[in-house]
């Protein structure tokens, strides 16, 4: 019954999307059309219905209703409850339902609260949102129904891939999806503004919190995903340039660029065409990413459902939406009047450089991700990895960091170098001193060296915009920018230091043996079997000490799951402020010794702290923007009220 309610809610939502689509586009032509009044309620109800449908699926997983095919295929009655729940979205059908639910909720929310734009623009925006949504409703209902029943009912389910039985996975996909799909709002706003010729600073102000919100979720999702891969896969790496990682990075790069160009449009009424373009590109990258993951067209550790039929369906949607948006853009772009002009040396100029660099990195990542697909068409198999991505993206990343350091110090419109001479010199000196220290005391690669030098410079620069301001009066959005930029410096330092100073040992040891790795000493005390709810494991009991100090006990495990069968490595981590010791237990060798893999990773945790700070900066900016928007709106209302009062008094 619950499954049927979920399915019915989804069909109803799809029907409402048709109504919203028709009403939206008719309303964009003539706002007095009768259907126009139904558009906003239709959008809100879709959000509610999709929420019901998603909760129904989560409930089915919670009670392990094995008469539902998806539950039987992906869950197991013996699984802990948290993983039963996360099982609802850790599969193709469930994740697509999550996708459309987030999209419908976002569409409902803008329909409910957003009243600042001209009504015609809003109608075109909601119509676009419904048009995109409709494709995904059809995809779920026709090609990936999560509520399909199974007959006969099996005795028990297949279980969930052991790699995915982890708390990280419970939150990683929903976070990323909210980010991915939240960008659909930016896409719809961009097309709405384009179709009704309303590319104005007001449009940028309305769109910005949505971009910011999605971007925060993407940032957290990518950071969490990177940490999950780091401790769960047992390889000790935190970024693999895997196609699916790239699929989440590309929308993030586009959203970061969009965020900055929307700020220029909102503050200075410049970069109009460019902002629209990025709005289209950001969500397009989300869709391309979903296509790459879901079609199984690229080989990746993440590709779950390899199904050409579903792949063709998503490809058709992709061609329709991205192709359609680009055609509309190409046809309409020259109706957008040129915005305000600005000098090269100005805040706008710096943001343009930032945008160009981010877009270039986006292009590099896209090319690297798709290149194997291209050469395969000519029967050449290649694999593109860090040797391409690292240096080529660094070419654009390093100049971008310089602009990131200097840009916030510049004034809007035009500026002269003499005014910011001293802060720039301070940043330069900080970078050069850091560079010299690393160069003299350590032997590292050029990229790590530049990374460490620049990260110190950026760290200093990130708080310079606060100079000369009364600290208590600094707007939240400026704090947000400073903290996010500082987060970039922190993450960059972590990346460079980990790459430069990492120590690795792979040894076979018997109980009682001691191994050294960097400043650490590790002694294997014993290895013993342990059992969990749906796995058994060999657990190493290893005592480690940093520079001969106090001993800490670590318990890495090699786990074997039985439903479905699989093995994972549960690494043990010892975190200090200046890095992490990573201990992974391998198999037993013939002679009774155990394989032990140890890494000392200096400052590696700073990568994720940096990621979280970037997200925190985004949150502060979001709160600051929303609060100041509300204040402005209230002030406008008060003014309006006073004016009517005056008018009434005058007429009386």
């Amino acid at each position: 019954m619950i499954a049927e309610i979920g399915l019915a809610a989804l069909w109803l939502a799809a029907a409402l999307a048709v109504l919203e689509l028709l009403g939206g586009f008719l309303g964009a032509r003539d706002e007095n059309n009768e259907l126009t009044a139904l558009v906003r309620p239709a959008a809100v109800m879709q959000g509610v219905l999709c929420g019901v449908s998603f909760l129904a699926l989560v409930y089915l997983f919670a009670v392990t209703d094995l008469s539902v095919k998806l539950v039987a295929a992906n869950s197991h009655s013996m699984k802990p409850l948290a993983f039963k729940l996360s099982g609802a979205w850790a599969n193709h059908e469930g994740s697509m339902l999550l996708w459309i639910t987030v999209m419908a909720l976002a569409g409902g929310l803008i329909a409910f609260i957003e009243r600042r734009l001209p009504e015609k623009t809003m109608m075109a925006t909601l119509g676009t949102q419904a048009f995109v949504g409709l494709g995904f409703y059809l995809f779920i209902l026709l090609a990936s129904n999560p509520f399909e029943r199974l007959s006969p009912v099996p005795a028990d389910g297949n279980g969930l891939n052991p790699l995915l039985q982890d708390m990280g996975v419970s939150f990683h996909p929903p976070t990323l999806y909210i980010g991915y799909v939240g960008l659909s709002v930016a896409f719809s706003f961009a097309l709405g503004a384009l179709l009704t010729r309303q590319v104005t600073p007001e449009f940028a102000r309305v769109m910005r919190p949505w971009v910011l919100g999605s971007w925060i979720f993407l940032t957290i999702g990518i950071t969490a995903g990177s940490y999950w891969a780091y401790y769960e896969l047992g390889w000790g790496g935190w970024w693999f340039w895997d196609p699916v990682e790239n699929a989440s990075l590309m929308p993030w790069l586009a959203a970061t660029a969009l965020l900055h160009s929307a700020s220029v449009l909102a503050a200075r009424d410049a970069l109009r065409t460019w902002t629209i373009m990025l709005g289209v590109v950001a969500f397009s990258m989300s869709m391309v990413g979903t296509f790459l993951v879901r079609s199984g067209i690229l080989t990746s550790v993440h590709a779950f459902a390899v199904d050409p039929e579903r792949g063709s369906f998503i490809l058709a949607l992709l061609a329709l939406y991205i192709g359609g948006a680009l055609v509309v853009f190409a046809m309409r772009a020259n109706t957008i009047a040129e915005g305000q002009r600005f000098a090269l040396l100005s805040r706008e100029g710096a943001l343009v450089v930032n945008n160009v660099a981010l877009s270039a990195i986006l292009g590099i990542v896209l090319l690297g991700t798709l290149y194997p697909l291209l050469t395969e068409a000519f029967d050449v198999r290649v694999s593109v990895g860090p040797p391409y991505f690292n240096p080529v993206s660094a070419i654009f990343f390093l100049p971008m960091l310089v602009v990131l350091a200097v840009g916030p110090l510049l004034r809007w419109r035009t500026d002269n170098f003499a005014r910011i001479k001293w802060p720039v010199i301070a940043i330069g000196v900080a970078s050069l001193v850091a560079l010299a220290v690393v160069l003299v005391f350590f032997d590292t690669s050029v990229l790590s060296l530049l990374g460490m030098g620049l990260s110190i410079g950026v760290a200093v620069a990130s708080f310079l915009p606060l100079k000369g301001r009364a600290i208590r009066r600094v707007p939240l959005a400026v704090w947000g920018m400073c903290i996010a930029h500082f987060g970039v410096a922190l993450a960059l330092f972590g990346v460079a230091a980990d790459t430069a100073f990492q120590k690795e040992r792979l040894v076979a040891v018997s109980p009682g043996d001691t191994v050294e790795v960097g400043p650490w000493e590790a002694t294997l005390a014993s290895v013993s079997p342990v059992a969990g709810p749906n796995w058994t494991a060999m657990q190493g009991d290893i005592f480690v000490s940093y520079q001969g100090g106090e001993q800490t006990e670590t318990l890495p495990q090699a786990r074997s799951f039985w439903a479905p069968p699989g093995e994972t490595s549960e690494v043990a981590l010892v975190t200090r402020w200046n890095g992490q010791l990573y201990v992974a237990l391998g198999n037993m060798a013939e002679d009774g010794r155990w394989q032990l893999r140890l890494w000392w990773k200096p400052f590696v945790t700073w990568i994720w702290y940096g990621g979280l700070l970037i997200a925190l900066g985004g949150c502060l900016a979001l709160v600051g923007r929303v609060v100041s928007d509300l204040r402005r709106r209230k002030a406008e209302q008060r003014e309006e009220a006073m004016r009517t009062e005056e008018a009434e008094l005058a007429s009386a």
Binding site: F291, S295, G296, I297, V306, P308, G311, S312, L315, L318, A319, I322, G323, L326, V327, F329, A330, A333, N334, L370, L373, L374, E376, A377, R381, G586, N587, A589, E590
Partner: protein, 178 residues
């Protein structure tokens, strides 16, 4: 303004080309037979412990002892490996010297597998982390390589050995011997 418009259509064209590529690749059957780039190359250096008690392990030196051999990559958990057992037995009867590498397996499971399906192997190495498999460019189980007397890979057979493959493999072995 006119120039801007053309450059925008270029973006549309690029997107169309991309979708074309996607569509083409979707219709292509997923090719699971990835030929090893190691054919024609000498075997890399390795040393594997024995997988079962009654057969010795396998190292690079064992493959360069002057006699050409078949190197069979298998596992007890692999169903096509059971299906190719009669063909391996036939190859052994017709004089092939076959050595095995058991991939990610347990000794007791290998023992049971060989007890049921027969043991055509003169040596079986135990490769718990697929190191040898990866180093010779094998992407799955089962696969069979022909190694000449000097330890050079001369031929690769991907997938299970069917009846019709037996003469081919014998011919390849003969070529490797001469």
């Amino acid at each position: 303004m006119k120039r801007l418009r053309y450059s925008l259509w270029i973006i549309v064209g690029l997107a169309a080309a991309l979708f074309g590529l996607f569509a083409y690749q979707l219709t292509q059957p997923k090719d699971e037979f990835v030929e090893s780039a190691m054919v024609g190359e000498p075997m890399p250096d390795f040393e594997l412990p024995p997988a079962v008690q009654d057969r010795p392990g396998l190292s690079r030196a064992d493959l360069a002892d002057g006699t050409p051999k078949l190197l069979n990559i298998f596992a007890s958990w692999c169903i096509p490996c059971a299906a190719e057992a009669p063909q391996l037995a036939a190859l052994e009867r017709r004089g092939a010297n076959i050595v095995g590498v058991a991939i990610r397996d347990r000794p007791e499971d290998v023992q049971r597998f060989l007890a049921i399906y027969g043991n055509p192997f003169s040596r079986i190495g135990r490769d718990d982390i697929s190191e040898v498999q990866l180093s010779i460019g094998s992407s799955g189980v089962p696969e069979t390589f022909v190694i000449d007397g000097s330890g050079t890979i001369t031929y690769q057979h991907i997938g299970d050995i069917r009846d019709r493959d037996v003469p081919t493999l014998l011919e390849e072995l003969r070529k490797a011997g001469g």
